[in-house]
């Protein structure tokens, strides 16, 4: 660790606070991940990534910057990684998953705001996120009102905040807006990086992003097996690391893990006994290190077999078509791909319910836990109709609304256990 102190200082981190954060993270990781039984060998890579998430990976970012590449930080799956890769940039998801320095965040934001936004501000204002500090551009996006307005407050605190506007309806005008916004984003990326996006670089970017998606889709496919070859916590971790890691190395590591899981499935081996209650999670994203609800679920006798979430299939299920020989044509393909994302900021958003039903069937799940972050109005409001529609199709649903604190863990456990009592046979 100590090798990194100079780097962290150079990035302007508050070393004492940062140490405290790493120590909490380390012990949480030990308790939640390393204590699991029957973990695949392939998870060792992800353990390593997590142990070096503020170390080696940041050094890689700094090395990339030294080579003249740019680092682009973002908070949302609507920011196209393909475009960042096409200027040879490094795309990173920014820290927003822990209750850290909320007092600092609440100095500039209202208390009653979603924990994801407060967390991003807590990290920034507490000077403990090396990713934010290393970013040449931070990309905000107009998804929910909370984020949209919070970016106005964030803007003077960071070097270069760039906002992508997003449509709220899946209409032709909505699609045109998205495409125009991506076009402007290309100009921004080209301006800051000094590199031009060509058909060749863009195809390369699409290829890298698609390979990542293909690998996590392969992982999703393997989780259909009973017994599940991997825990939901570990699979979530892979989906979380998706946002941080070097894309090529990530893809290889996921594929290596999947090779091992394939063997497990063939032999009928799993992390929990065959017949363990299978749960599909649906709703708000769980950013690192937000592992609270999956941990409660999997320590209460069930296994999570899928995530209908931005950190999960909502963010990864579609590929970008690479058939076109012009940048404009490829941009059309990118727009088509991202326009399919069924985030709850869209109204109406019927494809999401269809997708949950599809995943439920595909994963052989027994119940759906709808996860909302407190004060996340789009998902909380949508949870009512989603629940009603799913129950109508005989899919049992438990709705949970929570934040990043641990104080409601017991209440959540009671609900989760009662839900399992409801859906378990006999």
């Amino acid at each position: 660790m100590s090798n990194y102190i100079r780097m962290w200082s150079a990035l302007g981190l508050d070393l004492k606070a940062h140490d405290a954060l790493l120590s909490i993270l380390g012990s949480a990781y030990q308790d939640i991940f390393l204590s699991q039984k029957n973990r695949p060998e392939g998870m060792k890579y992800f353990d390593f990534v997590m142990s070096e998430v503020h170390g080696l990976r940041i050094k890689e970012l700094m090395d990339a910057k030294a080579e003249g590449r740019i680092v682009v930080g973002s908070y949302c799956v609507f920011v196209p990684e393909e475009l960042i890769l096409a200027v040879d940039g490094v795309s990173v998801g920014l820290c927003a998953g822990a209750e850290f320095n909320f007092e600092g965040a609440e100095e500039v934001l209202p208390r009653n705001l979603c924990p994801l936004i407060k967390s991003a501000f807590g990290f920034k204002r507490g000077l403990v996120c090396p990713y934010v500090e290393a970013s040449d551009i931070i990309v905000g996006e107009n998804t929910c009102d909370g984020k949209k307005k919070a970016y106005e407050v964030l803007s003077p605190m960071v070097k270069d905040l760039y906002i992508i506007d997003l449509p709220q309806m899946k209409s032709d005008t909505g699609k045109t807006l998205l495409k125009e916004e991506y076009k402007k984003f290309i100009a921004k990326l080209e301006g800051v990086s000094g590199r031009k996006i060509t058909v060749e670089t863009l195809k390369k970017g699409i290829e890298i992003a698609n390979a990542k998606r293909k690998a996590v889709k392969r992982l999703a496919e393997l989780r259909k097996a009973d017994p599940a070859p991997i825990s939901g916590l570990d699979a979530l971790l892979v989906n979380q690391v998706f946002f941080y890691d070097d894309p090529l190395r990530f893809t290889n590591s996921v594929n290596t893990l999947c090779d091992e899981l394939e063997e497990r499935v063939k032999k009928g081996e799993g992390v929990f006994p065959k017949g363990t209650t299978r749960i599909l999670m649906s709703g708000c994203p769980m950013a690192v290190p937000n592992w609270k609800v999956p941990m409660i679920v999997e320590s209460s006798g069930a296994v999570i077999v899928g995530e209908e979430s931005c950190v999960g299939e909502r963010g990864t299920q579609w590929f970008t078509e690479d058939k076109s020989e012009t940048v404009a044509g490829l941009l059309d393909n990118i727009t088509e791909r991202y326009f399919k994302i069924d985030c709850a900021v869209f109204t109406p958003n019927p494809s999401r319910i269809e997708h949950v039903k599809e995943m439920y069937k595909k994963c052989n799940a027994r119940g759906v836990i709808h996860y909302s972050l407190q004060f996340c109005h789009p998902y909380i409001v949508e949870s009512g109709p989603v629940e009603a529609e799913l129950e109508k199709s005989d899919i049992p649903v438990l709705r949970i609304e929570t934040d990043y604190s641990q104080e409601d863990a017991e209440q959540l456990k009671t609900r989760v256990e009662a839900f399992f009592e409801r859906i378990q046979p006999g």
Partner: protein, 255 residues
Amino acid sequence: MRAAGIDIGSRTVKLAVIEDGTTVLARKALTSHDPLDAARTLISGVMYDVIVATGYGRHLVKGHLGCPVISEIKAFALGAKAIHPPCKVILDIGGQDTKAISLNDAGEMSKFEMNDKCAAGTGRFLEIMANALSYTLEEFSRAALSAERAEKINSMCTVFAESEVISLTAQGAMRHEVALGIHKAIVSRSTALLKRIAPSGEVFLAGGVAFNECVRALIAEELNRSVVVPTDPQIVGAYGAALHAATLEEGKGVK
């Protein structure tokens, strides 16, 4: 065969022992700062063949007694159904949680709702408000029943509602009218939870708050549905856990 159920609630620990389906013993004690000790004291000297724990302290007791656990939601569903067989809808207002549970035609738990993590709309809320008005719990309910109109309490947060109550009394509001306002607030909160999962049908009211006559009357009025209250609404969860224990012993297991 004697089967026992222990329900470690946030405010009260309840123990029920049944033999051939009949309750042979029912005991209660305050949970205090040491729920495990309270549970131990409660079961000391009690004879039973099998015990199941429920309530928020169930996992704590499980670790010490090595007994199976069920959630209090399931325990209340089992207990209510046994006490009142036609039961389809249960509203349990406890010390720290409010739960609404609906049962399907087979009498199995189908949906449930619980209050959010704060104490709004629970027994603890009533206790704090009674205290803010210098009433005992019994006086509090009686005073509310005697009021002809209610002061409206807008805040459902226990902390904010307490300040609201204090400022109302400072403005010279009648104490018993404030008391009725508080009872109305908790009832509207609980019935909203209930309506979400069971829009119609008779309501089985359980939990310590069911002892409160004003709450009982207001729930019936607010819902315009009949409300059934068992002789001891507080023991329902422990009784349900005991019933579950009995079936475990018989090797059947119930849902």
